[in-house]
């Protein structure tokens, strides 16, 4: 099963290598990875999308926690969460396809952020289903280049929504 794991780390060089190396050394899968600083400039947030059965995810959580520079590990899949991804899609646009491209971008609430006589570059943000649906729809037009950010995720506040299955697993406090 797919899991989205947020890993709060010290913002120091080599930390990402240690986290990524842990996955490769133990044969765990990384489906996507994103890293950026948080509000506190001394820390960064790594969002990892991985897959595995429960014992493997448990090991991944424990192994991440074991890294000295890792401050907090949360398996967001255990909670209510929002995830988003952005893709930039450069599509071939023959004259007869230009309208279709604009229409699709409109339907998906995407933006055309660059255009040339033969291409449009479309920016789309959304959850993975939406991004993949957009890619799927654009494929017949001919995708010249595609770049995706990898997923980021955040837990939902629970005050006015249904209560989560359980609190985030804060293994390190």
């Amino acid at each position: 099963m797919e899991h989205i794991i947020s890993v709060l780390v010290e913002n120091k060089f080599g930390v990402l290598a240690r986290v990524a190396g842990l996955f490769s050394a133990r044969g765990y899968n990384i489906e996507s990875l994103s890293v950026a600083p948080t509000l506190d400039p001394t820390t960064s947030m790594i969002t990892i999308v991985t897959a595995g059965d429960d014992p493997i995810i448990e090991q991944i959580m424990k192994q991440l926690n074991k890294v000295v520079e890792v401050l907090k590990v949360v398996d967001l899949t255990e909670t209510h969460f929002l995830d988003r991804e952005t893709a930039l899609i450069k599509v071939h646009t023959k004259p007869e396809h230009r309208d279709e491209a604009i229409r699709l971008a409109d339907i998906f609430r995407a933006k055309i952020v660059d255009s040339s006589p033969n291409t449009y570059t479309i920016e789309i943000t959304g959850d993975i289903e939406k991004v993949e649906a957009m890619i799927h729809m654009l494929k017949p037009l001919g995708i010249k280049e595609l770049i995706r950010t990898g997923r980021i995720a955040i837990s939902r506040e629970t005050t006015h929504t249904a209560s989560p299955r359980r609190e985030p697993a804060l293994l390190k406090t």
Binding site: G14, K62, Q63, V68
Partner: protein, 592 residues
Amino acid sequence: MKMTGAEIFCESLRREGVKTVFGLPGGVVLKIFDVLCQQKDIDLVLTRHEQGAAHMAEGYAKATGKAGVVLVTSGPGMTNIVTGLADAYMDSVPLVAFTGQVSTDLIGNDAFQEADNVGISRPCTKHNVLVKDVNELAQTIKEAFYIATSGRPGPVLVDIPKDVSIAKAEFKYPDKVNLRGYNPTVNGNKNQVKQAAEEIMKAKKPMIYVGGGAVFADAADEIRELAELTQIPVTMTLMGLGSFPGTHPLSLGMLGMHGGYWTNMGMHHADLLIAVGARFDDRVTGKLSEFCPEARVIHIDIDPTSIKKTFHAHIPIVGDVKAVLRQLNVILRSMDGNPAQIKALRAPWIKQIDEWKKAHPLTYKQDGKIIKPQFVIEKLYELTKHNAIVATDVGQHQMFAAQYFKGSKPRTWLTSGGLGTMGFGFPAAIGAQIAFPDRLVLCITSEGSFQMNLQELVVAAERKLPVKIIVLNNGVHGMVRQWQDLFYEGRYSASILGKMPDFVKLADAYGITGLRALRPSEVEPVLKEGLKHKGPALIDVHTDPYENCYPMIPAGGAHHQMMLEDPPELKLARKGGGRKRKVEEGEGVLPA
């Protein structure tokens, strides 16, 4: 007062109580070595190879419980200690390795003797740091020692660029560390411990299974109390040997691939397993799906990743083994008022194990012609008993030593368990001897392993370290040969060593006493002579190249499926029938 990086380095070591540094100099660490040689209270041990330095530091650390310290140069100096780091990582040995690095302005330029020390060592260290600013050096060193020795111990590498060792900074050694991402759990969860105690009182066929974590946690007394209080037999992993006296009536010796028949049968039939500082390694468990099929499992370990990594645990307890056992023993003492009752409850189980032991004890046949390796270890044990620190290398001799040398104290058994590093034993023995100059330190090794780091003989010679090296010399990579005989139809691919150095002459070349035993009758007198000798001695004992180590759980086998002796087709081959024998085609080591 401002100090150079090199001076800060030396002063920081002093604050950490470091007495000994194992290392070898080179271009970028010259400044550090220059300052270090002026420190009267820090002994700098010049090894002849950086790998030797790493294993010496491991031996020192395993014998003392303090961090072993290594100092080497960049590039090849660092890459040569990688085996030692990986070994220390697998066996949780507290090590702080300092490596030189090219100047910060040259990093990344493929400068002379540059290597990505931090990158190379990342997968085989608990933590590592490149120090880019001399102002951070003292803090980094303080943290390195703390991380290496606390929690589940392990190696930490600190990479010091040349310009950092020269640059000056105000020296202020921190009193304590504050690592927000690192805070090992000490005490066990009270409810879990209580549950464990209840399980223990209920169990009819319990086993205590002790690993290296108990040695590092200094939990020998607590294990003994637990075992005696509850009358539960104790088995140890290769790394756990010494944490419970091998001669104790409740000791079952080592378990696993070459563990006793009675021990592994006990594991197979146990209804409760109390794992203490052990990690269910494949050499211990054999086939996981058939490991301890009937047992409830209590797993006590300081490292949460060790729990449920390979095997399930019904009652996981994360915490320092010593602290958790103390909690557990307090509860058990309050629960149990009647030792006689406990004894009676366990009696059938102990009796059953005893019957297994009587049916298939450890055994070998010593005739008058060829020396059996087990015989040498038994003699050695008889002659030295519990006073020796024993370092071993890796292979058959290591397993024989584990089976026949019944250590009684923790930190007297130094061996490479996880990584299985041939070449570990001799430098480790030197490290232990340097830590304890007055104690008897034995290096039980083989001709194969010994040749991997014999350059360190000169360290023993120049320091007149009274370490005794016993080379069980059978002219073959014994364990490889054994597997080839059992699983590869006797094709001895690259296991016959053929041309062998004359170890007595070799010892002589280094100015060390060399002795030799060729026949069984010579073993005892030669060992006695060697042990009596004041300085270092090398004892070359020529042993049977065909002796196999039993019992044996073949890789992937289960605990109740042990081989207890050579299978029939191998016996036939031994008698000259069947397959071809090639050992004699080499120069061989058997006496003429």
